[in-house]
């Protein structure tokens, strides 16, 4: 498998490590706010629940033996086709700005 790192270009998968689902968002965490049932459920799902989609999936990979950047890789889980590679930081910044 080859991943086209947005900083380093195409590299073999042995240079990368996989973390998992990049569509999860860490729930808001205000230490002053009481933790209600809904918040508990959100946290539980964030930490433990993972979908197992057949098809394009956005996932976090790190180019650990290269530039060490975390990447959001869109991969088709059925074919391993890699549809898009983005810098995780850029994705996260855009998300923060647009609140998506």
């Amino acid at each position: 498998m080859r991943i086209d790192c947005c900083h380093c270009g195409p590299r073999g998968n042995e240079e990368f490590v996989y973390l998992g689902d990049a569509t999860l968002e860490r729930p808001p965490a205000d230490p002053a706010a009481p933790l209600d049932e809904e918040a508990r459920t959100r946290w539980h799902d964030y930490v433990y629940l993972r979908d197992n989609p057949a098809g394009p999936h956005r996932e976090l990979w790190q180019h650990v033996s290269g530039c060490r950047a975390w990447l959001v890789v869109t991969r088709d889980t059925r074919t391993h086709a890699i549809l898009k590679v983005e810098s995780a930081r850029d994705v996260a910044l855009a998300r923060a700005v647009f609140g998506s």
Binding site: R26, P31, V47
Partner: protein, 1047 residues
């Protein structure tokens, strides 16, 4: 070949009579003379033969032709007997040139077996190659390149190849049928391990591994190219040429040691040139192109995602021992933008009675032996074929002087070409007939043929050429899961949709004719180069003579007697397939597992198609409905050594050495692997009886005087930027904003699920600069975690950090005389008094006369202690200076054992307690959890289950009888309770003998933790017969007030 009638009666086995070879037959034997056995090894002139007797010359070698180097003379041995061959031979062709057909015994029934094929698909001719530590079992004689001195042995026979006692298995075949190991030898169960399994293992199986370390080396290497061409036959050569001429970077991999594929196995004419000459010309042009790399002896054995291919180059398998500094084999990772698969096709044998006798060979293989190796595999042949290529076989046999006794073509009307060729060869043509059964045992000596009229006639022969059609080598096109589709035209599976970036040309694509293969290769080669960005002109195709590739498949001769093998390697017969069907194993994958058909080294290359067609017939399904089994890498067997490459023994996982390693070696330290590091465990001194004596002495030295320990292995991360404090706030459970410059603080970080991830001290070196330390084991994990947090969770935080673990050497100086020792090493202008650098102070200063240094007043041992860091290159110098400086105070180095003893005495948690199942509260560190901020793990750590009072939590343990030894791993049960799982209350995590207290102490996790202080429980350890009554106590055994470290 001389008069074909010279040897009229092919040698059947009988009472050990020789195979039909030239020995004693007057065919050139005299010249080579029979070398009688020597009492001692004879070093020359026959090196390969050794003590072996030299057999007669190559009586079966044709007088001319072929691609062997007749000027070379290679001697080799098979089962201890010496033979001769040439450069350019395989072991199989050389054996056949010497008339040796019997080369092995079959897997289950121990039936005599010969050479079926001339390539990697060989199911029978598996031999042990070489001897001693280099002995390699299951080597295919058909691909093993002959070299001078080659040693080979047959396998799976006892006591000898010609007389194998275990051939009685054939008589027991009713109980050895498909799935026998699921049905028989099952009862009584007690006999399975002791009797049945050893017996079956002895009887079945293939070769023996050497059992010794492999003395050779293997390499991994990487290649990038625009176009990868797999296979150097007609299609592959044209593809490489078309792509190569565009300037694209082309890699051409050929499994064989010679390019050409079927072009050198057949006698064809291209552009008025003999096919082998044409191959040489094209090969020369390719070799001259600077952008083309030809890898011969290289099998591409796996196709993976995104144009990644795995290939094995047999760099030095064709010599006795690799030259110095050269690997035996090289494992290539090939990254190709485009690939042309031109892997050819594999011929199928036919299924009839006793179709496994030595001397029964694939017709294509017979043509290979004649054309390429100039070997006649027999003198009197019967050709049994279902394809139009029979004409080619007949003409090649005739040219080789082999008399053709009969041509059996199951088609009612044999094609005109076959009929004409039979006439030309003077052979009887039996159209609409079939070979029912072969006769002979150690060698075929005839066939029973049923004619179209239904008569059975016996025809004597010593060679049966069988041709059942061709199976395209679709493996690489299917490795990613694409199923091939059935083609009625060629009666075989062809690739349907090859993976992205791959085109399939030639016979691999079902284009069996030469003209089609050449055209397909040229077209796909050009297209592949074009896709990779290289344009060029189409290559002019060579003119070729016409041919007919028609066939009418015959999957099984019905009504035969004797065993009709479908899979020769696994001894699976047509009856086994029928039995599997009757017993419900009808899916092809079930058929494979139940009968073992298609397993082992050949993976059913010659057998799978026939088997699944038989199953389709039996179940009245179509072939597409029946389907094919899954193709998985590797295409051919790959040695584990090649996959491991350089990563063997100590190189499997290289060890990191701390800066004081050389010095510690000089001290005679005992080392231990701690994670990736090799660390000094203790430093024995003369007269010390055991490790405990040394460790106790080291601990006492620290507690009473001063000790030094290399702690460079701790992870160090340099964190900078305006948001550094905020970053730490979110990473750690405790607060950082009030940490002043020049101060250090202990921190604890959690995983998001609330469990402790790691701990360590962090020092604030400047307003916006921190030095974070991690445990040795988690250094890489914590850095990665921080990178994820920074880049993904909090990209708005303005921080930068990197690992500086290897940039700094760091030593712990601990003990009452620590400051006195350091005073002599730290440059004089720096004040390191207790007032200037109190407990948990951190300073940047210089040491040893101007060397940049950092000094941290932190203590793991509980004594007055510092950690001093200098650039790693100064580490060796610093340890020597420290030892010198501390000599007057009685300094001694201490290792990881003493370090561990002192941290247990102080109740500090380490890896044994930070085990991924403990929370901060479980470790007695709950009060560090800040309530005023968010941090990783905060929410989940508060889950009810994790905050329950009965969670196993940290406590100290002392044996009630102070003389008793404690063991880590012992489980706690209440006094009087039965020691069963239900009464388990936790376990001991760390133990040490405390020199200060004079008895064993332990740390452990026990339900209730601190609330149990004063209670007595059993520390129960049935594995090591331990059952010790212990007292639960505070985990801080030594100086609980912490007065010493502030001294």
């Amino acid at each position: 070949m001389t008069d074909p009638s010279a040897k009229t009666s092919p040698g059947d086995g009988g009472a050990g009579s020789p195979p039909p070879c030239g020995e004693g037959s007057g065919l050139g034997v005299a010249k080579n003379s029979v070398r009688e056995s020597h009492p001692t090894p004879n070093p020359s002139p026959s090196r390969g033969g050794g003590a072996a007797r030299m057999r007669g010359g190559e009586s079966w070698r044709l007088r001319q032709g072929g691609l062997v180097d007749r000027t070379s003379a290679h001697t080799f041995s098979f089962d201890g007997r010496g033979y001769r061959g040439h450069a350019g031979d395989t072991l199989a062709s050389a054996l056949l040139a010497n008339g040796v057909h019997l080369v092995g015994r079959s897997f289950k029934y121990h039936r005599p077996r010969g050479i079926l094929t001339a390539g990697p698909e060989e199911p029978n001719a598996l031999v042990e190659l070489r001897s001693g530590a280099r002995r390699e079992p299951n080597t295919r004689a058909t691909t093993a390149e002959l070299y001078d001195g080659l040693e080979a042995r047959s396998q799976n026979r006892w006591p000898s190849l010609k007389f194998d006692l275990l051939a009685v298995n054939s008589l027991a075949s009713p109980i050895l049928s498909a799935g026998f190991y699921y049905k028989t030898f099952m009862w009584p169960a007690a006999l399975w391990e002791r009797l049945y399994e050893p017996l079956i293992r002895r009887a079945a199986g293939l070769g023996r591994a050497s059992g010794a370390d492999d003395p050779d080396t293997y390499e991994k290497a990487f290649l990038h190219c625009d176009v990868l061409v797999v296979g150097g036959g007609a299609a592959g050569l044209m593809a490489a040429l078309a792509a190569g001429r565009t300037g694209a970077r082309v890699v051409l991999c050929e499994e064989d040691f010679r390019l050409g594929g079927r072009l050198i196995a057949e006698s064809r004419v291209l552009d008025d040139q003999r096919s082998s000459d044409w191959v040489a010309r094209i090969g020369a042009e390719l070799a001259a192109l600077p952008n083309v790399r030809i890898l011969a002896r290289t099998s591409v054995f796996g196709a993976y995602d995104h144009g990644t291919y795995a290939a094995l180059e047999r760099v030095n398998d064709h010599v006795a021992t690799p030259p110095e500094h050269e690997p035996r084999q090289r494992f290539w990772h090939i990254y190709a933008k485009r690939c042309v698969l031109a892997a050819g096709a594999i011929e199928r044998p036919l299924v009839f009675g006793d179709n496994d006798r030595p001397g029964i060979m694939l017709a294509g293989a017979v043509r290979t032996y004649i054309n390429r190796y100039a070997v006649a595999p027999g003198r009197r042949a019967v050709v049994f074929g279902t394809t139009d290529e029979t004409a080619q076989t007949l003409s090649d046999l005739a040219r080789a002087g082999v008399s053709v006794e009969a041509v059996v073509d199951p088609r009612a009307e044999a094609p005109a070409g076959v009929e004409a060729a039979a006439k030309a060869a003077g052979a009887r043509l039996v159209a609409g007939g079939a070979v029912m059964r072969a006769t002979g045992s150690l060698h075929v000596h005839g066939v029973d043929v049923r004619t179209a009229a239904g008569e059975t006639v016996h025809i004597a022969c010593d060679l049966v050429c069988v041709a059942g059609g061709w199976s395209p080598s679709v493996h690489l096109a299917s490795h990613k899961g694409a199923r091939p589709v059935w083609s009625e035209r060629i009666a075989g599976f062809v690739p349907d949709t090859p993976p992205a970036g791959m085109g399939v040309a030639g016979a691999a694509n079902g284009d069996l004719g030469l003209a089609d293969a050449l055209a397909g290769g040229a077209r796909l080669g050009l297209a592949a180069a074009g896709d990779a960005g290289f344009d060029g002109q189409p290559v002019e195709l060579p003119k070729v003579d016409g041919e007919s590739t028609g066939l009418t498949p015959l999957w099984r001769v019905k009504g035969t007697r004797g065993k009709a093998f479908v899979d020769l390697q696994n001894d699976v017969t047509d009856k086994d397939v029928a039995l599997a069907e009757r017993e419900g194993f009808r899916a092809v994958e079930h058929l494979k597992r139940y009968t073992t058909l298609g397993m082992a080294t050949d993976q059913g290359k010659t057998s799978n198609v026939a088997a699944l067609v038989l199953m389709a017939e039996l179940t009245a399904r179509s072939i597409p409905q029946t389907g094919s089994t899954t193709f998985r890498p590797p295409y051919a067997p790959i040695a584990i050594g090649a996959l491991a490459g350089e990563h063997r023994a100590r190189h499997f996982r290289p060890t990191r050495l701390p800066p004081s390693h050389r010095w510690a070696q000089e001290q005679g330290a005992v080392f231990v692997e701690a994670g990736q590091w090799l660390r000094a465990q203790w430093y024995p001194q003369a007269g010390e009886a055991d490790w405990l004596t040394s460790v106790n002495r080291e601990v006492r030295t620290v507690r009473e005087r001063v000790g030094v320990c290399d702690v460079s292995t701790l992870g160090k991360i340099d964190l900078q930027g305006p948001d550094s404090a905020e970053f730490l706030e979110r990473l750690y459970i405790n607060g950082w904003k009030n940490l002043a410059v020049g101060k250090a603080r202990y921190g604890l970080m959690l995983r998001e699920d609330g469990m402790v991830m790691d701990d360590g001290t962090t020092s604030r070196l400047a307003e916006q600069r921190y030095l974070v330390t991690t445990t040795t084991a988690n250094a890489a994990k914590v850095l990665q975690h921080m990178e994820l947090c920074h880049q993904w969770l909090w990209p708005d935080l303005d921080v930068q950090f990197c690992s500086v673990t290897e940039q700094w050497a760091q030593f712990s100086i601990a003990g009452p005389r620590a400051r006195d020792t350091l005073r002599k090493v730290i440059d004089g202008q720096h004040d390191i008094s207790d007032a200037a650098l109190p407990y948990l102070g951190a300073a940047e200063l210089t040491a040893m006369g101007g060397v940049a240094a950092r000094l941290f007043r932190i203590s793991f041992s509980g004594e007055l202690a510092y950690e001093i860091a200098v650039p790693a290159g100064h580490g060796d110098g610093l340890i020597r200076r420290l030892m010198e400086a501390g000599r007057a105070f009685g300094i001694a180095p201490y290792g990881t054992e003493a370090l561990g003893v002192m941290r247990i005495e102080k109740g500090h948690v380490a890896g044994n307690e930070l085990n991924g199942q403990t929370t901060a509260r479980n470790l007695g560190l709950g009060r560090m959890m800040s309530r005023r901020k968010d941090y990783i793990g905060r929410v989940m750590a508060d889950r009810p289950g994790l905050t329950a009072a009965d969670r196993p939590s940290l406590a100290g343990f002392k044996p009630v009888d102070r003389d008793q030894r404690l063991r880590a791993g012992a489980h706690f049960v209440r006094e009087g309770a039965r020691p069963v799982l239900a009464s388990d209350e936790g376990y001991m995590t760390s133990v040490a003998f405390s020199p200060a207290l004079g008895h064993w102490i332990g740390l452990g996790l026990i339900a209730g933790g601190a609330a149990r202080h004063g209670e007595r429980v059993r520390a129960y350890d049935p594995v090591r017969h331990g059952d010790v009554l212990v007292e639960v106590c505070d985990p801080v055994f030594y100086d609980p007030a912490g007065e010493r470290l502030r001294g």
